[in-house]
């Protein structure tokens, strides 16, 4: 006598994403911490020194946050107009920032008042940065000039006017104190050498450049602008390596992770995309608003994203230690010892083993199915928790009822409340390709059973109307897809070489008479 076989729940794999090590790595972040700033966050820069504080430029202030603090530990507020491009020096002790009025200010990280002010730009300065020797500051401005300033004396060392539009991107070389890269709205990226005082390389990006980025080896240069991200090989004289088009709005910022130098790009389309070393998108962070700035802390501990609505969203990396503390706090039940008690007993050689029949544990719906209580089983499967978090269980019970030929009985004789439950479930899942087939039968049976009484309940009627809309839309979509498939088929057919087909067709014809002769 066999025992009752429980209902088999089919777990169909979801199509699409494949799990790789990269996705696992980038998924391993906690849910973001949201910090509200006064205006759009235009620049985030991490200090290269140990506590890795980060400066956030937003509106007329620059706030410095600690890695785990949600309140600023320091703020620089002495700006009369919007501040731009606050960035640290290589030793993390000085901070430089441009502003809307054209002034460049230099702050000591501990002080409040600006140590130096560089005046000279006639229009807003959007990007400022230290050169790698730490004694010079380079700035790019809307007045089409690029200027280099001496920090000790606060004088302008040189001014280069080669761009023909606003300069909105700047990246100093870390290896050579005389090199820096600028990107401008005139669609070009230029590499400047301070020793010659002019550009040594010019790349055509094709769109207004929003951000430039140098790889640590400084052989590769990333420029973003428009919907494109382009990688240039500097060692080959600025040859374009790849052009990526994964965003559907302007890509505003790019940065590199410190582990494995993975490229991250943020865009106005509210997504941050992570690329692997062959420039395929491996992960995607979603944000609430258009992204203006982004930075990754050393060791990828923190991903900070600044958005147009003034929200700074900070994601911290999950660690094993956190998980352990969480679980240890949560555990209240009996200890592990209780569960393994007697289970790990190994009988000795001369012990006589009395085996106990294993009790079969059945789920509630299985118990009801076992005793042929079909309506109750369906009710159990349609309970709130099951139908929302495990729709496949509900569908499995529906399939089982259908197999037993009792689905109609189970659906019959329901009141408005339980019928709405079923219809809600249908509305939510009927177009899911995994479930659509059994759920369509359910829909058919419901219509058959309740056709006479439908008009009595406005709630049910409204739901059916919605169901009709949903199905209509789905049908249209299917039709469109079929059309596309047809177009593709003709394309493929015209692409395949003609000769081969002819050869294949000719073969049986050739052999026919020969065989008959044999």
């Amino acid at each position: 006598m066999a025992s009752f076989k429980p209902t088999k729940v089919q777990f169909l794999p979801k199509l699409g994403e494949k799990v790789t090590e990269d996705t696992l790595y980038w998924k391993n972040y906690k849910s973001p911490v949201q910090i509200k700033e006064f205006g759009a966050v235009t620049k985030i820069d991490f200090s290269p020194l140990a506590p890795h504080n980060y400066a956030v430029t937003a509106s007329t202030r620059i706030h410095v946050y600690g890695l785990h603090s949600q309140e600023p530990i320091r703020s620089f507020t002495r700006f009369r107009d919007t501040a731009y491009g606050g960035s640290f020096r290589g030793d993390g002790k000085l901070l430089v920032a441009g502003s809307e009025e054209g002034l460049i200010r230099l702050f000591d990280i501990c002080g409040r008042v600006a140590l130096r002010q560089f005046t000279g730009h006639s229009k807003a300065v959007h990007v400022t940065s230290f050169l790698s020797d730490g004694f010079r500051v380079v700035s790019g401005s809307d007045d089409l000039t690029c200027r280099v300033w001496d920090v000790p004396s606060a004088v302008e060392l040189s001014s280069i006017t080669e761009h023909t539009d606003y300069i909105r991107a700047l990246a100093p070389s870390k290896l050579n104190p005389d090199l820096f890269v600028t990107g401008s709205y005139d669609h070009t990226v230029k590499v400047f050498d301070m020793r010659s005082g002019s550009s040594v390389m010019t790349m055509q990006h094709g769109h207004p450049v929003e951000c430039v980025l140098l790889y640590p080896s400084e052989a590769l240069l990333v420029s973003t602008g428009g919907r494109y991200v382009k990688i240039w090989d500097l060692l080959k004289g600025g040859q374009e390596l790849v052009s990526l088009k994964n965003h559907h709005k302007t890509v505003t910022c790019a940065c590199l992770s410190s582990v494995g130098n993975k490229l991250l790009t943020g865009s106005l389309d509210r997504h941050v995309k992570v690329y692997n070393s062959s420039y395929k998108v491996v992960h995607n962070f979603d944000c609430d608003a258009s992204i203006l700035s982004m930075a990754v802390a050393p060791d990828d501990e923190v991903v900070a994203v600044g958005m147009t609505n003034g929200v700074l969203s900070v994601r911290h990396r999950k660690h094993k230690k956190d998980k352990e503390t969480l679980t240890s706090r949560r555990r209240r039940g009996p200890s592990y010892r209780v569960f393994v008690k007697g289970k790990n007993f190994v009988p000795r050689q001369d012990d006589f083993l009395v085996s106990k029949p294993v009790k079969q544990y059945l789920r509630k719906y299985d118990k009801q199915l076992k005793s042929f209580e079909v309506s109750k089983a369906l009710d159990t499967a349609l309970q709130m928790w099951t139908r929302t978090s495990k729709p496949e269980v509900t569908v499995a019970v529906i399939i089982e009822l259908n197999r037993r030929g009792t689905l109609k009985n189970a659906l019959a004789g329901r009141n408005e409340e339980s019928l709405t439950k079923i219809l809600n479930f249908l509305l939510k899942h009927i177009f899911d390709p995994r479930f659509s087939r059994p759920l369509l039968t359910v829909g058919d049976i419901v219509l058959d059973l309740y056709r006479q009484v439908l008009h009595q309940s406005p709630v049910v009627e409204r739901q059916l109307q919605r169901l009709m809309e949903v199905l209509g839309r789905e049908a249209e979509l299917q039709q469109e897809l079929l059309q596309v498939l047809g177009i593709l088929d003709t394309l493929f057919a015209s692409l395949t070489p003609r000769k081969e087909v002819a050869a294949l067709a000719a073969l049986p014809v050739d052999q026919g008479p020969q065989l008959q002769a044999a």
Partner: protein, 834 residues
Amino acid sequence: MNEVLSGMNVNLSYPAITTERVNRFVLCTSGDSVKVYSTRTEEWLHSLQGHTNQVTGIALNPANHLQVYSCSADGTVKLWDFIDGILIKTFIIGYPLFAIYVSEKHEGIVFLHIAMDTDSKKEGFQLVAVHLPKSAEQEVEAKELSAVSSHISPNPSCTAFGREGQYIAFARNLQLNVYFFRKQKTYSFSLKATDKKGAKNAFTCIACHPTDDCIATGHEDGKIRLWRNFIHKKEYTYSTQHWHHNAVNTLCFTPEGTNLLSGGIESVLVQWQYGTGNRKEFLPRLGGSILHVSASSDGQLFCTSHSDNKITVIESSFKVCGVIQGLVKGDAVLTDLMIDPRSKALVLNGKPGHLQFYSLLRDKHLYNLDIVQQEYIYEAGLDQFEVVKAAFDIKGYWLATVEERGQKSADLEFFLKLWSYDERTQSFVLNTTITAAHTDRIISMCFSSSEETTMLVTIAEDGQFKAWCQGVDADTKQDQNFWSCDFVGSYHNLKPTNCSFSADSSLLAVSFQEVITIWSPDTWELLTTLCQPPGVIRDLCFGRLSCSKYLISTTTRNLLCCWNLLTCALEWSTSVEVSKLQSDPLSENVAAFSYQSKHTDLFVFKPNEPRPLFTHKNVCSEKIHRAVFVPREEPLNNCDESSQWLNRSQLYFLTQNMDLLTFSTATEEDRMLSSSTRLVIDDSVAVTPFYLLLGKHRQQQQKLNTPSHQAADRPQQPQGSVTITELLHTPAHVLPPASVLCSMFVSSLLISNTGVLQDPLRKEMESSEQEMNSEKEEEDSEGEMEACDSQQELRVQGSVDEVTPKLSKAQERELKRVRKTDFSWMAGLIASKP
């Protein structure tokens, strides 16, 4: 050479349990014989053979509980001694018989169902009483027939004897008739044609209470009616009970009349308490639908026979205590016949949703493998998943199955499943389930036969063939242990009909309607096409060994073609209608079954010559669609020209009547005969409780061994059984102490294959004999004896916990005295050891 029916090819119908001291037997009809099983060991003991046609009924002789009557369609009633399997008497009636009933009160009279003389085809059955003449002859003609009633139901369970044989009740359609022997009158009671709801009211079975005037009847709609007070024609009453949702197939009162047992298609045995209204107990999920229930005369055991060729033995406490399982017969065998390469067992459809493994060597059901893994609902007309295709790879490590549901309706559901063999559990474990392998029904599939890589090819009605592989995923570069699709191929959108791999797996042949396409599985390149119109290709098979350059195909237009793959030309063709083509994996031979003018012929040929090696006309009258070559354990050395093709493997085939047939050679038959006689002798000796214990134990061992070890196939016969019987029959007070006997007894049970272990015993024997002769040598022999005693002790420690204590001098002397008394029977014990 001739054909031999193989397997328990039989409907185990109408079982009867007998009680005989402690041992019980189950008797059941099976084809033209009655089989006798032991209820304790579930072993087949012997069969009562002698009838020349289907045995239709058996009944225990009420006058002698060791005898049984059997009736057959050949028109004879035979009386048997079923313990020894001896035919006592044959009564020739002269008409085909369909059921037999006996009663204690009517000694020397049997009641039989016979077909009406005029038109036996129609539903005209007669119940007749036959007086069996008393004479000493073996064969007697019984001519004293007196009709009790004509126009009775053809269903044998619609007739039953009432209390103490006072009346006999029989029903037909909507009428219940009771014939009283004393009054010589028949009362009839009829029901209305339909109830209010239109339920069917017809009678399906009858049982009479053994001590009370009560008749229980089962009906088409699942109701059970209990009729009382039917002695008065007008004032009869009945009460109705309803649990079964389909027809009640069988009813049976327990001998004391306390309970009523009923069974039907639901496969639930229901026990109704008599007289307490509606109290009942259930025993669900017994197997196929219950056809017949019977109870032993002391009420200790019940047994049910099922539609899937199975008998379940149930204790009176409603626990299953034994299952006798034959070759499971479903409605149809949908899968091919296959051989599990590991256990060499025959694999085919078993229980619904299962594959059964059946050992042909031992003619025994091994186990059922659950493929569908869903609860089977026993309900008529319900469309449920069935295993329709299955295939093994060459090493028996992979099993692929296809299950299907909705053959009749439009929305077809099917799953392709791949099972891997688990060494630890010695069974197949589900590895991959593929939900939508194709967009339409899978027609056929085959595994590639190479040793290194396993590949499965499926062909489907959607015009595609797909190759499935287990291996590396292209995207993630990770090793997967599940199967995925490797290649999809099609040919001019034609519907494929069959597929086959060559012996070395270097070629794949897929037939598309009239065209055979040859593919290379390594590159998936279409190598060539072969075509011989007209006629759609039905079967495909590659030649083996020296004939591996040939490809043989059969078409629907009666053509058998042999292609040479080296020249890509037709080698030869012949016009013959072939229903099944099967190639022998161990030789070049190919067997073709041809169905022409209502009978099947068999041709065996080698692909390199169009002349058949062996022909057998008129194998059977039905069409044959399933056949398989079963490799032999060891090849026969048969020089006979006509049976040489059977040397390496044996051909089994399945007829449409679900009979499994095979060809056997003369030498084999001799062997079979000798083995069966030996079995009978052993079993007839061993009807002691001790043997039963052994038997049960032995059977368990077999079960453990079956999948893995073929060498330990034949059960070890208990040795020295004569000694054991003597031991157990000797009164306890004359036996030596148990501690003395125990060690010897245990060692006699040990299977010794070295001479070393026996030596001490023999020495002991010698020494004791010497003792009797001369007292002088006592010291010597004593030393020896002690040595052997300690050896025995050591041996005993292994098996028995208790260690025999060291004997004192006085005890030893006592022991010797005891030994001197009775040793003659012990000689048998030693002599019987090999």
